[in-house]
């Protein structure tokens, strides 16, 4: 049942890719001129379904503690779970492996304004990605600030931008972001940032936060992006970018050279590579991609979005699970996923103010593809 799609640069596959891309653009049709939220139906067909279930009421908040829009979710090596969400304030919560609320991290620090994602690195440091302050904030496991990258605009300058809204600017500054979206690391600790709504690039820093390289402009070609919205790395240091507006995953090598596009799984809001951030382990790695139910007009695209694809790292689709909706096990706009264990997926969802723990049952897959 496996289908192999454009994993490399051979001429035939390039042709396949171009055809697929043209199809993708054609399907986006009238939405092309619109901003990034237009969601497209995935091109891939006859994809087998992976049975899955949600653990009922997994995340338990004490009375008086609420999460808002769940933007980011990530586990550490001990199974602790972090959720970065938009409530009255943007807040970062920690939960036990059993889903019990443990504590809040980073409350009222200067870098929190509008949550976008959270990731845990190989040393269990917690990185909050905030698109309101254009900052990455690296917390120790204890919850102290170890490093920041990017800088919150001076308050008086922020006032001058009110009432705001903002627009793409593509300034491409070394140490400032334009509403960056996500972070990942390679096994050497180099930092990769998808940036973002107002830039269209991927930035690489060394482990001490020193700029190494940035690639990307706005557009539809290779090494061009239209809201790079999510980013992940594999143990070889390849970089997977959820190029949401272009309805594809772009794969870059460790020096940010273009390797491949996977244009068949809809608009990737969230990408995740299983196995955790490191250290490198013998587990086989998979790529998960969420073609999320768009958040701006939920009813419109509910019948053809909301599913998550499981892929080999080369782009081969293995299966899919889920659909748009708010019932348990359905997905109400997945914004980030954790897939440290490839059969346990944590989803942070915008629309229903929730996160879910999803158990996959690939061994129960039937051959009856839908």
């Amino acid at each position: 049942m496996k289908r192999r799609l454009t994993p490399s640069l051979t001429p035939i596959r390039m042709v396949t890719f171009v055809v697929a891309l043209v199809c993708a653009l054609a399907m986006m049709g009238p939405h092309l001129s619109r901003p990034v939220s237009a969601q497209s139906k995935a091109i891939a067909t006859n994809v087998p379904v992976i049975p899955h279930e949600a653990v009922p009421n997994f995340f338990k908040n004490p009375p008086g503690i609420y999460t808002g829009e769940n933007m980011g979710i990530s586990t550490n090596s001990k199974g602790q779970i972090y959720i970065y969400h938009r409530a009255y304030e943007t807040r970062l919560f920690e939960y036990s492996p059993q889903g019990t609320f443990v504590r809040e991290i980073g409350r009222n620090n200067y870098g929190f304004a509008f949550a976008h994602s959270v990731r845990v690195d190989a040393q269990d440091n917690i990185w909050a990605v905030d698109e309101g302050t254009d900052m990455l904030i690296k917390f120790s496991p204890e919850g102290r600030v170890l490093m920041t990258i990017g800088r919150r605009e001076d308050p008086v300058n922020m006032l001058s931008n009110m009432p705001g809204g903002g627009a793409f600017h593509g300034r491409n500054e070394k140490y400032r972001f334009g509403r960056q979206t996500d972070v990942a690391w390679d096994q050497q600790g180099n930092i990769f940032v998808s940036d973002g709504y107002f830039d269209a690039r991927v930035v690489k820093f060394d482990k001490n936060g020193r700029f190494i390289k940035a690639v990307g402009t706005r557009g539809t070609g290779n090494l061009q992006f239209n809201t790079p919205h999510s980013i992940a790395t594999d143990f070889q240091g390849n970089v997977y970018v959820g190029d949401r507006g272009n309805a594809r995953v772009q794969v870059l090598d460790n020096d940010l050279n273009w390797k491949a596009n996977y244009p068949n799984v809809g608009n990737p809001w969230a990408v995740c590579v299983s196995g955790g951030p490191g250290p490198k382990n013998p587990g086989k790695q998979y790529l998960y991609v969420s073609n999320s139910w768009p958040d701006s007009a939920p009813a419109a695209a509910a019948d053809f979005t909301g599913e998550v694809y499981k892929m080999e790292l080369d782009g081969t689709i293995i299966g899919k699970f889920g659909r748009a909706g708010k019932a348990p096990g359905e997905f109400a706009t997945i914004h980030q996923m954790d897939c440290r264990d490839p059969n346990v997926i944590y989803t942070a969802e915008i629309n229903d103010w929730r996160s879910q723990k999803i158990l996959l049952k690939p061994q129960a897959m039937k051959s009856s593809a839908q």
């Binding site: 304030e89 809040e104 991290i105 980073g106 409350r107 009222n108 620090n109 200067y110 870098g111 929190f112 304004a113 204890e142 919850g143 102290r144 600030v145 490093m147 920041t148 800088r151 919150r152 001076d154 308050p155 008086v156 300058n157 922020m158 006032l159 001058s160 009110m162 009432p163 500054e173 070394k174 140490y175 400032r176 001490n208 936060g209 020193r210 700029f211």
Partner: protein, 388 residues
């Protein structure tokens, strides 16, 4: 002399000048130093953010004025009211958190400086409220200089910018909008009665006492107060008596003697001379206490802040950052009062012994400094070792 000769002479002179400049930089000795970059210890729910200012009192207690928490805008009748975004924290001499001062006060919005005076009062400088607040040793507010604009009026006529219209341009000038400036002359600053009332110049004080993004404060031996004003568009130094009564001001925008392009810091020596960090012109200008220009010197990069030592031979520590992010080009210079650079230490970056926009230096002890950084959210205690 032909044009060609003139040109050659010019090139030769330029090359010579460049060579001399490089030679001067290369010959500046590096001062050996070490730092404790993990100095401040706060509870897990309290975060030091960008350090606008750090200083210590005679007991060694450390005060940090920091951008932390959130700058908010409260919606009001045709206006937004900016609040929050900075806090004033007190630590013991070992860096352990002791208490907070100025909780929820009106004018803590964008920390940009802090100084401790000889009587151990703590003075905060805020670049959004455009205020200087003096806290006594009990933590009470003892003096407030400048008035916070009712609406921080960055765009006249825009929502949140008051009523707009022609009168809006003569009120508190929008930061970063030089064309709307009220100039530096005291008579131009009168736009409206103190209090403003939402028309004209909300936040305007008495003539000369309304600031636009001030950055620093210093005192002479009589207790007179000098304000660096600032990084808005006023480019002046304002002088007040010890009770906060306006005495005089000097300076305007430009690069002549007595003009400034961004007044980032000031300091006084024991004789009462005023050293003014003129960032855009990459120089320090020296005035007497009445504002008469005396001299200037450069070779200190782009100054962010200064600190005047208090020993019998006084020195200035001057922080330089050549890039806006503190990642490319930075150093702290030790400079004799005649402008001779004695030595330098530090570089740009995020690691210990590197500085990410060192915006504040305390040099109460000449060889054990406190250096506060904006982008690295920390204070480093710097121990300078004897050269060679």
């Amino acid at each position: 002399m032909t044009m060609t000769h003139t040109f050659k002479a010019f090139v030769a002179a330029a090359v010579l000048a460049l060579g001399a400049s490089l030679a001067a930089q290369n010959s500046t000795p590096d001062i050996p130093f070490d730092t404790n970059a993990d100095l401040l210890k706060t509870p897990l729910d309290l975060f030091v953010g960008e350090v606008g200012g750090v200083g210590q009192n005679s007991k060694g207690q450390i005060f940090v004025y920091t951008r932390t928490g959130h700058p908010y805008a409260t919606l009001g009748d045709n206006r937004t009211f900016a609040r929050g975004g900075s806090r004033l924290l007190q630590f013991d001499r070992t860096g352990k958190f002791e208490r907070e001062l100025g909780q929820d006060v009106y004018g803590f919005n964008a920390a940009i400086g802090l100084r401790v005076d000889p009587q151990d009062n703590v003075w905060t400088i805020d670049a959004a409220a455009s205020q200087i607040v003096k806290f006594d040793t009990d933590g009470r507010v003892a003096l407030v200089l400048g008035r916070k604009p009712e609406t921080i009026n960055v765009r006249p006529g825009a929502p949140g910018g008051g009523r707009g219209g022609p009168e809006a341009g003569r009120g508190t000038p929008p930061a970063g909008a030089p064309e709307a400036g009220r100039g530096a002359a005291p008579e131009a600053g009168r736009g409206g009665a103190p209090g403003g009332g939402g028309r004209g110049a909300p936040g305007s004080g008495l003539p000369g006492s309304s600031f636009n993004r001030p950055t620093d404060v210093a005192w002479d031996r009589a207790g007179n107060i000098y304000i660096a004003d600032g990084i808005g568009n006023t480019n002046r130094v304002a002088k007040f008596d010890k009770d906060g009564r306006f005495i005089r001001q000097w300076g305007s925008t430009g690069s002549e003697n007595g003009q400034f392009m961004g007044v980032k810091s000031l300091a006084l020596d024991a004789q009462g001379n005023v050293y003014v960090a003129d960032a855009g012109n990459k120089r320090i200008q020296v005035f007497d206490g009445d504002g008469n220009f005396k001299s200037q010197f450069g070779n200190i990069g782009t100054p962010l802040t200064m600190c005047m030592t208090t020993g019998s031979t006084q020195y200035l520590y001057i922080s330089h950052s050549g890039d806006p992010d503190g990642m490319e080009d930075a150093a702290i210079y030790k400079v004799a009062l005649d402008g001779r650079v004695v030595g330098k230490f530090g570089s740009a970056g995020k690691l210990p012994k590197q500085f990410g926009l060192a915006n504040s230096i305390d040099c109460r002890n000449e060889n054990e400094l406190l250096v506060g950084e904006m982008t690295n959210w920390r204070v480093q205690r710097v121990t300078l070792k004897a050269s060679r």
